[in-house]
Protein backbone atom coordinates (compact mmCIF):
# COMPACT_ATOMS: atom_id res chain seq x y z
CA UNK A 1 0.00 0.00 0.00
CA UNK A 2 2.90 2.36 0.77
CA UNK A 3 6.23 2.23 -1.04
CA UNK A 4 8.95 4.83 -0.53
CA UNK A 5 12.46 4.89 -1.96
CA UNK A 6 15.11 7.37 -0.90
CA UNK A 7 12.44 9.66 0.51
CA UNK A 8 13.69 13.03 1.74
CA UNK A 9 12.30 16.35 2.76
CA UNK A 10 13.92 19.73 3.24
CA UNK A 11 12.54 22.92 4.74
CA UNK A 12 14.75 25.61 3.22
CA UNK A 13 18.31 24.60 4.07
CA UNK A 14 17.23 22.23 6.81
CA UNK A 15 16.94 18.58 5.88
CA UNK A 16 14.42 16.89 8.17
CA UNK A 17 14.18 13.55 6.42
CA UNK A 18 16.77 11.76 4.36
CA UNK A 19 16.94 8.54 2.32
CA UNK A 20 13.96 6.75 3.86
CA UNK A 21 12.92 3.42 2.34
CA UNK A 22 9.55 2.12 3.44
CA UNK A 23 7.28 -0.74 2.38
CA UNK A 24 3.93 -1.23 4.03
CA UNK A 25 1.69 -3.96 2.64
CA UNK A 26 -2.11 -4.06 2.86
CA UNK A 27 -3.14 -5.01 6.38
CA UNK A 28 0.32 -4.39 7.83
CA UNK A 29 0.96 -2.54 11.07
CA UNK A 30 4.11 -0.46 10.59
CA UNK A 31 5.63 1.38 13.52
CA UNK A 32 7.93 4.38 13.07
CA UNK A 33 10.21 5.22 15.96
CA UNK A 34 12.95 7.75 16.51
CA UNK A 35 14.00 10.61 18.74
CA UNK A 36 12.48 14.10 18.62
CA UNK A 37 13.29 15.85 15.36
CA UNK A 38 14.08 12.65 13.50
CA UNK A 39 11.34 13.32 10.94
CA UNK A 40 8.56 10.97 12.08
CA UNK A 41 5.82 13.56 11.75
CA UNK A 42 7.21 14.74 8.41
CA UNK A 43 7.18 11.17 7.09
CA UNK A 44 3.57 10.73 8.17
CA UNK A 45 2.55 14.03 6.55
CA UNK A 46 4.23 12.96 3.31
CA UNK A 47 2.35 9.66 3.30
CA UNK A 48 -0.93 11.46 4.07
CA UNK A 49 -0.33 13.74 1.07
CA UNK A 50 -0.15 16.92 3.15
CA UNK A 51 3.42 17.62 2.01
CA UNK A 52 5.46 16.76 -1.03
CA UNK A 53 8.84 15.03 -0.88
CA UNK A 54 11.92 17.05 -1.83
CA UNK A 55 13.65 13.90 -3.04
CA UNK A 56 12.96 10.23 -3.66
CA UNK A 57 9.78 8.44 -4.66
CA UNK A 58 6.60 7.78 -2.74
CA UNK A 59 3.62 5.71 -3.82
CA UNK A 60 0.54 5.49 -1.63
CA UNK A 61 -2.00 3.16 -3.13
CA UNK A 62 -5.12 4.56 -1.49
CA UNK A 63 -7.33 7.56 -2.24
CA UNK A 64 -7.49 10.36 0.27
CA UNK A 65 -11.03 9.58 1.40
CA UNK A 66 -9.72 6.23 2.69
CA UNK A 67 -6.99 7.81 4.81
CA UNK A 68 -7.49 8.57 8.49
CA UNK A 69 -4.87 10.89 9.96
CA UNK A 70 -4.34 11.41 13.66
CA UNK A 71 -1.94 14.32 13.67
CA UNK A 72 0.05 15.93 16.46
CA UNK A 73 -2.84 18.41 16.79
CA UNK A 74 -6.35 16.99 17.22
CA UNK A 75 -7.64 18.82 14.08
CA UNK A 76 -10.97 19.68 15.66
CA UNK A 77 -12.59 23.09 16.22
CA UNK A 78 -12.38 24.17 19.85
CA UNK A 79 -15.46 26.41 19.66
CA UNK A 80 -17.65 23.58 18.34
CA UNK A 81 -19.01 20.71 20.38
CA UNK A 82 -17.83 17.14 19.87
CA UNK A 83 -21.06 16.36 18.08
CA UNK A 84 -20.76 19.40 15.78
CA UNK A 85 -17.16 18.52 14.92
CA UNK A 86 -18.02 14.94 14.05
CA UNK A 87 -21.13 16.06 12.13
CA UNK A 88 -18.95 18.35 10.04
CA UNK A 89 -16.40 15.66 9.20
CA UNK A 90 -19.15 13.07 8.74
CA UNK A 91 -20.78 15.28 6.13
CA UNK A 92 -17.50 16.00 4.35
CA UNK A 93 -16.70 12.28 4.19
CA UNK A 94 -20.32 11.40 3.28
CA UNK A 95 -20.38 8.80 6.05
CA UNK A 96 -23.40 6.52 5.64
CA UNK A 97 -25.68 6.34 8.71
CA UNK A 98 -23.65 9.22 10.08
CA UNK A 99 -25.59 9.83 13.29
CA UNK A 100 -25.46 6.19 14.34
CA UNK A 101 -21.74 5.96 13.59
CA UNK A 102 -21.01 9.17 15.51
CA UNK A 103 -23.06 7.95 18.48
CA UNK A 104 -21.30 4.60 18.49
CA UNK A 105 -17.83 6.19 18.45
CA UNK A 106 -18.68 8.74 21.14
CA UNK A 107 -20.01 5.93 23.33
CA UNK A 108 -16.97 3.77 22.69
CA UNK A 109 -14.51 6.53 23.59
CA UNK A 110 -16.48 7.66 26.63
CA UNK A 111 -17.54 11.05 25.25
CA UNK A 112 -21.27 10.54 24.87
CA UNK A 113 -22.15 12.45 28.04
CA UNK A 114 -19.93 15.36 26.98
CA UNK A 115 -21.09 15.42 23.36
CA UNK A 116 -22.80 18.82 23.67
CA UNK A 117 -19.86 20.51 25.39
CA UNK A 118 -17.48 22.69 23.44
CA UNK A 119 -14.10 21.09 22.81
CA UNK A 120 -12.49 24.14 24.45
CA UNK A 121 -13.86 22.81 27.76
CA UNK A 122 -12.38 19.34 27.21
CA UNK A 123 -9.21 18.10 28.87
CA UNK A 124 -6.29 17.24 26.58
CA UNK A 125 -7.09 13.54 27.01
CA UNK A 126 -10.74 14.01 26.05
CA UNK A 127 -9.69 16.04 23.02
CA UNK A 128 -7.37 13.21 21.97
CA UNK A 129 -10.26 10.75 22.31
CA UNK A 130 -12.37 13.01 20.11
CA UNK A 131 -9.54 13.16 17.59
CA UNK A 132 -9.57 9.36 17.51
CA UNK A 133 -13.33 9.41 16.89
CA UNK A 134 -12.71 11.82 13.99
CA UNK A 135 -10.06 9.54 12.51
CA UNK A 136 -12.22 6.42 12.74
CA UNK A 137 -15.47 8.11 11.66
CA UNK A 138 -15.22 7.29 7.95
CA UNK A 139 -13.81 3.81 8.50
CA UNK A 140 -10.51 4.51 6.71
CA UNK A 141 -8.44 1.82 5.01
CA UNK A 142 -5.10 3.43 5.92
CA UNK A 143 -4.69 4.78 9.45
CA UNK A 144 -1.80 7.17 9.96
CA UNK A 145 -1.39 7.79 13.67
CA UNK A 146 1.15 10.27 15.01
CA UNK A 147 1.81 9.54 18.69
CA UNK A 148 -1.73 8.23 19.27
CA UNK A 149 -1.24 7.66 23.01
CA UNK A 150 -0.38 11.30 23.70
CA UNK A 151 -2.40 12.67 26.65
CA UNK A 152 -4.53 9.55 27.04
CA UNK A 153 -5.05 8.27 30.59
CA UNK A 154 -4.83 4.55 31.37
CA UNK A 155 -8.47 3.95 30.44
CA UNK A 156 -8.14 5.90 27.18
CA UNK A 157 -4.96 4.03 26.28
CA UNK A 158 -6.70 0.70 26.93
CA UNK A 159 -9.59 1.77 24.71
CA UNK A 160 -7.15 2.63 21.97
CA UNK A 161 -5.29 -0.67 22.45
CA UNK A 162 -8.57 -2.53 22.02
CA UNK A 163 -9.50 -0.49 18.94
CA UNK A 164 -6.13 -1.07 17.29
CA UNK A 165 -6.23 -4.78 18.07
CA UNK A 166 -9.75 -5.01 16.61
CA UNK A 167 -8.75 -3.33 13.36
CA UNK A 168 -5.33 -4.95 13.01
CA UNK A 169 -5.15 -7.06 9.87
CA UNK A 170 -8.30 -5.49 8.42
CA UNK A 171 -6.78 -2.04 8.04
CA UNK A 172 -3.28 -0.80 7.27
CA UNK A 173 -1.48 1.15 9.99
CA UNK A 174 1.43 3.54 10.00
CA UNK A 175 2.03 4.57 13.60
CA UNK A 176 4.72 6.83 14.99
CA UNK A 177 5.53 6.53 18.67
CA UNK A 178 8.08 7.29 21.34
CA UNK A 179 6.93 4.17 23.14
CA UNK A 180 7.32 1.24 20.73
CA UNK A 181 6.75 -1.26 23.56
CA UNK A 182 3.09 -0.26 23.67
CA UNK A 183 2.39 -1.31 20.08
CA UNK A 184 5.17 -3.86 19.51
CA UNK A 185 2.82 -6.82 19.97
CA UNK A 186 0.67 -5.47 17.10
CA UNK A 187 3.53 -4.41 14.82
CA UNK A 188 4.42 -6.27 11.66
CA UNK A 189 7.40 -4.01 10.87
CA UNK A 190 9.37 -1.25 12.55
CA UNK A 191 11.22 1.64 10.99
CA UNK A 192 13.72 3.52 13.10
CA UNK A 193 14.58 7.04 11.93
Amino acid sequence: MIAARGLGRRFGDKRVLRGVDLDVADGAFAVVTGPNGSGKTTLLRLVAGLALPSEGELHVDVTRERIGLLAHDPLVYRELTALENLELYGRLYHVPERRERIGMLLERFGLWEARHERVAAYSRGMTQRLALCRVLLHDPQLLILDEPYTALDAQGAELLDAQLAELRGERTFLVSTHDPQRVRRLATSELSL
Partner: protein, 223 residues
Protein backbone atom coordinates in the same frame (compact mmCIF):
# COMPACT_ATOMS: atom_id res chain seq x y z
CA UNK B 1 -29.57 13.00 -1.65
CA UNK B 2 -30.28 12.89 -5.39
CA UNK B 3 -28.32 10.13 -7.09
CA UNK B 4 -29.79 10.07 -10.59
CA UNK B 5 -26.50 10.31 -12.46
CA UNK B 6 -22.92 11.01 -11.54
CA UNK B 7 -23.03 14.70 -12.54
CA UNK B 8 -26.10 15.43 -10.43
CA UNK B 9 -24.69 13.54 -7.48
CA UNK B 10 -21.39 15.44 -7.68
CA UNK B 11 -23.18 18.77 -7.83
CA UNK B 12 -25.39 17.95 -4.86
CA UNK B 13 -22.41 16.55 -2.97
CA UNK B 14 -20.38 19.70 -3.71
CA UNK B 15 -23.18 21.95 -2.51
CA UNK B 16 -23.63 19.81 0.58
CA UNK B 17 -19.89 20.18 1.36
CA UNK B 18 -20.09 23.95 0.85
CA UNK B 19 -23.17 24.07 3.09
CA UNK B 20 -21.49 22.09 5.88
CA UNK B 21 -18.35 24.26 5.75
CA UNK B 22 -20.28 27.54 5.62
CA UNK B 23 -22.44 26.45 8.55
CA UNK B 24 -19.27 25.67 10.49
CA UNK B 25 -17.84 29.15 9.86
CA UNK B 26 -21.09 30.88 10.82
CA UNK B 27 -21.36 28.75 13.96
CA UNK B 28 -17.77 29.57 14.93
CA UNK B 29 -18.49 33.29 14.59
CA UNK B 30 -21.74 32.94 16.52
CA UNK B 31 -19.79 31.34 19.37
CA UNK B 32 -16.62 33.44 19.35
CA UNK B 33 -18.16 36.74 18.18
CA UNK B 34 -14.84 38.26 17.34
CA UNK B 35 -15.26 39.28 13.70
CA UNK B 36 -18.64 40.95 13.18
CA UNK B 37 -18.64 43.16 16.31
CA UNK B 38 -15.13 44.36 15.39
CA UNK B 39 -16.27 45.15 11.84
CA UNK B 40 -19.31 47.09 13.08
CA UNK B 41 -17.30 49.11 15.57
CA UNK B 42 -14.61 49.79 12.99
CA UNK B 43 -16.91 50.98 10.22
CA UNK B 44 -18.90 53.17 12.63
CA UNK B 45 -15.69 54.69 14.00
CA UNK B 46 -14.38 55.34 10.48
CA UNK B 47 -17.56 57.19 9.50
CA UNK B 48 -17.40 59.31 12.64
CA UNK B 49 -13.75 60.18 11.91
CA UNK B 50 -14.57 60.97 8.27
CA UNK B 51 -17.56 63.05 9.33
CA UNK B 52 -15.39 65.33 11.43
CA UNK B 53 -12.33 65.32 9.16
CA UNK B 54 -14.16 66.16 5.94
CA UNK B 55 -14.43 69.97 5.65
CA UNK B 56 -17.96 71.39 5.81
CA UNK B 57 -19.46 71.80 2.36
CA UNK B 58 -17.34 69.06 0.82
CA UNK B 59 -18.81 67.47 -2.26
CA UNK B 60 -20.77 64.25 -2.41
CA UNK B 61 -17.96 62.91 -4.62
CA UNK B 62 -15.48 63.06 -1.77
CA UNK B 63 -17.90 61.31 0.59
CA UNK B 64 -18.43 58.52 -1.98
CA UNK B 65 -14.70 57.92 -2.05
CA UNK B 66 -14.62 57.67 1.73
CA UNK B 67 -17.42 55.08 1.70
CA UNK B 68 -15.27 52.81 -0.44
CA UNK B 69 -12.22 53.28 1.76
CA UNK B 70 -14.35 52.25 4.75
CA UNK B 71 -15.75 49.19 2.94
CA UNK B 72 -12.38 47.91 1.77
CA UNK B 73 -10.75 48.24 5.20
CA UNK B 74 -13.77 46.76 7.01
CA UNK B 75 -13.59 43.80 4.64
CA UNK B 76 -9.89 43.49 5.39
CA UNK B 77 -10.77 42.96 9.06
CA UNK B 78 -13.04 40.04 8.17
CA UNK B 79 -10.53 38.59 5.73
CA UNK B 80 -7.78 38.76 8.33
CA UNK B 81 -9.91 36.66 10.69
CA UNK B 82 -11.25 34.25 8.07
CA UNK B 83 -8.64 31.53 8.46
CA UNK B 84 -7.79 32.11 12.12
CA UNK B 85 -9.60 28.98 13.42
CA UNK B 86 -7.88 26.85 10.79
CA UNK B 87 -4.50 28.37 11.63
CA UNK B 88 -4.80 28.20 15.41
CA UNK B 89 -6.25 24.70 15.50
CA UNK B 90 -4.43 23.50 12.37
CA UNK B 91 -7.70 22.16 11.01
CA UNK B 92 -6.82 23.13 7.45
CA UNK B 93 -4.94 19.81 7.27
CA UNK B 94 -8.13 17.92 8.08
CA UNK B 95 -10.15 19.92 5.55
CA UNK B 96 -7.53 19.41 2.84
CA UNK B 97 -7.46 15.69 3.58
CA UNK B 98 -11.26 15.37 3.39
CA UNK B 99 -12.52 14.02 0.05
CA UNK B 100 -14.42 17.18 -0.82
CA UNK B 101 -13.31 19.36 -3.71
CA UNK B 102 -10.84 21.84 -2.19
CA UNK B 103 -12.57 24.73 -3.91
CA UNK B 104 -15.53 24.03 -1.58
CA UNK B 105 -13.33 25.31 1.28
CA UNK B 106 -12.76 28.56 -0.61
CA UNK B 107 -16.40 28.94 -1.60
CA UNK B 108 -17.66 28.29 1.93
CA UNK B 109 -15.17 30.70 3.46
CA UNK B 110 -16.10 33.34 0.85
CA UNK B 111 -19.81 32.90 1.62
CA UNK B 112 -19.23 33.21 5.36
CA UNK B 113 -17.11 36.35 4.87
CA UNK B 114 -19.75 37.74 2.51
CA UNK B 115 -22.38 37.20 5.22
CA UNK B 116 -20.29 39.13 7.78
CA UNK B 117 -19.55 41.92 5.31
CA UNK B 118 -23.20 42.21 4.27
CA UNK B 119 -24.25 42.30 7.93
CA UNK B 120 -21.72 45.09 8.61
CA UNK B 121 -22.97 47.02 5.57
CA UNK B 122 -26.61 46.75 6.65
CA UNK B 123 -25.53 48.98 9.54
CA UNK B 124 -22.85 50.92 7.66
CA UNK B 125 -24.87 52.14 4.68
CA UNK B 126 -27.68 53.81 6.69
CA UNK B 127 -24.97 55.30 8.89
CA UNK B 128 -23.26 56.69 5.80
CA UNK B 129 -26.53 58.18 4.62
CA UNK B 130 -27.04 59.73 8.05
CA UNK B 131 -23.61 61.38 8.03
CA UNK B 132 -23.11 62.25 4.37
CA UNK B 133 -26.51 62.07 2.58
CA UNK B 134 -24.91 60.60 -0.54
CA UNK B 135 -26.38 57.13 -0.87
CA UNK B 136 -27.89 56.21 -4.23
CA UNK B 137 -29.36 53.00 -5.59
CA UNK B 138 -26.37 52.56 -7.89
CA UNK B 139 -24.06 52.86 -4.88
CA UNK B 140 -25.88 50.02 -3.11
CA UNK B 141 -25.73 47.92 -6.30
CA UNK B 142 -22.02 48.71 -6.60
CA UNK B 143 -21.42 47.73 -2.98
CA UNK B 144 -23.26 44.41 -3.48
CA UNK B 145 -21.23 43.58 -6.60
CA UNK B 146 -17.95 44.71 -5.06
CA UNK B 147 -18.64 42.54 -1.99
CA UNK B 148 -18.63 39.45 -4.20
CA UNK B 149 -15.24 40.34 -5.65
CA UNK B 150 -13.80 41.37 -2.30
CA UNK B 151 -14.80 38.08 -0.68
CA UNK B 152 -13.73 35.89 -3.61
CA UNK B 153 -10.30 37.47 -4.03
CA UNK B 154 -9.76 38.24 -0.34
CA UNK B 155 -10.48 34.67 0.77
CA UNK B 156 -8.06 33.35 -1.83
CA UNK B 157 -5.36 35.78 -0.75
CA UNK B 158 -6.16 35.06 2.92
CA UNK B 159 -5.54 31.35 2.37
CA UNK B 160 -2.24 32.19 0.67
CA UNK B 161 -1.16 34.44 3.51
CA UNK B 162 -2.29 32.24 6.39
CA UNK B 163 0.49 29.69 5.92
CA UNK B 164 3.21 32.35 5.99
CA UNK B 165 4.89 33.88 9.01
CA UNK B 166 4.23 37.46 7.84
CA UNK B 167 0.51 36.83 7.26
CA UNK B 168 -0.67 40.08 8.90
CA UNK B 169 1.55 42.02 6.49
CA UNK B 170 1.03 39.87 3.47
CA UNK B 171 -2.77 39.94 3.39
CA UNK B 172 -3.16 43.73 2.90
CA UNK B 173 -0.11 43.84 0.63
CA UNK B 174 -1.62 41.25 -1.70
CA UNK B 175 -5.26 42.18 -1.31
CA UNK B 176 -5.24 45.97 -1.66
CA UNK B 177 -3.70 46.09 -5.17
CA UNK B 178 -6.22 43.46 -6.30
CA UNK B 179 -9.06 45.52 -4.77
CA UNK B 180 -8.17 48.69 -6.74
CA UNK B 181 -10.37 47.75 -9.74
CA UNK B 182 -13.26 47.18 -7.32
CA UNK B 183 -12.77 50.62 -5.80
CA UNK B 184 -12.61 52.20 -9.26
CA UNK B 185 -15.78 50.39 -10.32
CA UNK B 186 -17.54 51.12 -7.05
CA UNK B 187 -16.68 54.81 -6.98
CA UNK B 188 -17.60 55.09 -10.66
CA UNK B 189 -20.99 53.48 -10.04
CA UNK B 190 -21.53 55.81 -7.06
CA UNK B 191 -20.81 59.13 -8.80
CA UNK B 192 -21.66 58.99 -12.53
CA UNK B 193 -25.16 59.40 -13.97
CA UNK B 194 -25.07 56.27 -16.11
CA UNK B 195 -23.55 53.68 -13.72
CA UNK B 196 -24.31 50.67 -15.96
CA UNK B 197 -20.79 50.58 -17.42
CA UNK B 198 -19.19 50.50 -13.96
CA UNK B 199 -21.65 47.94 -12.60
CA UNK B 200 -20.92 45.77 -15.65
CA UNK B 201 -17.21 46.15 -14.97
CA UNK B 202 -17.72 45.04 -11.36
CA UNK B 203 -19.78 42.04 -12.52
CA UNK B 204 -17.06 41.07 -15.00
CA UNK B 205 -14.37 41.38 -12.31
CA UNK B 206 -16.43 39.17 -9.98
CA UNK B 207 -16.94 36.52 -12.62
CA UNK B 208 -13.35 36.47 -13.81
CA UNK B 209 -11.70 36.46 -10.38
CA UNK B 210 -14.22 34.04 -8.86
CA UNK B 211 -13.43 31.56 -11.65
CA UNK B 212 -9.68 32.07 -11.22
CA UNK B 213 -9.81 31.65 -7.44
CA UNK B 214 -12.13 28.65 -7.69
CA UNK B 215 -9.80 26.91 -10.12
CA UNK B 216 -6.53 27.83 -8.38
CA UNK B 217 -7.47 27.33 -4.73
CA UNK B 218 -6.34 23.71 -4.71
CA UNK B 219 -2.78 24.83 -5.46
CA UNK B 220 -2.84 27.29 -2.57
CA UNK B 221 -3.83 24.84 0.13
CA UNK B 222 -1.87 21.86 -1.14
CA UNK B 223 1.85 22.26 -0.92
Amino acid sequence: MIRNGSGDWRRVSYLSDVGALTRKDLLLELRARDTLPAMLLFVAAVFVVFHFSLPAGSSRLAASGLLWVAIVFTALLALGRAFVPEREQRTLDALVLAPCDRSAIWLAKSLATLTFLAAAEIVALPLFELFFHGLRGSTVAGVALADLGICAVGTFVGATAVVTRARELLLPLLFLPLAIPLVIGGVGASVVHGPGRYLGFLGLYDLLFALLCWAAFEYVVVE
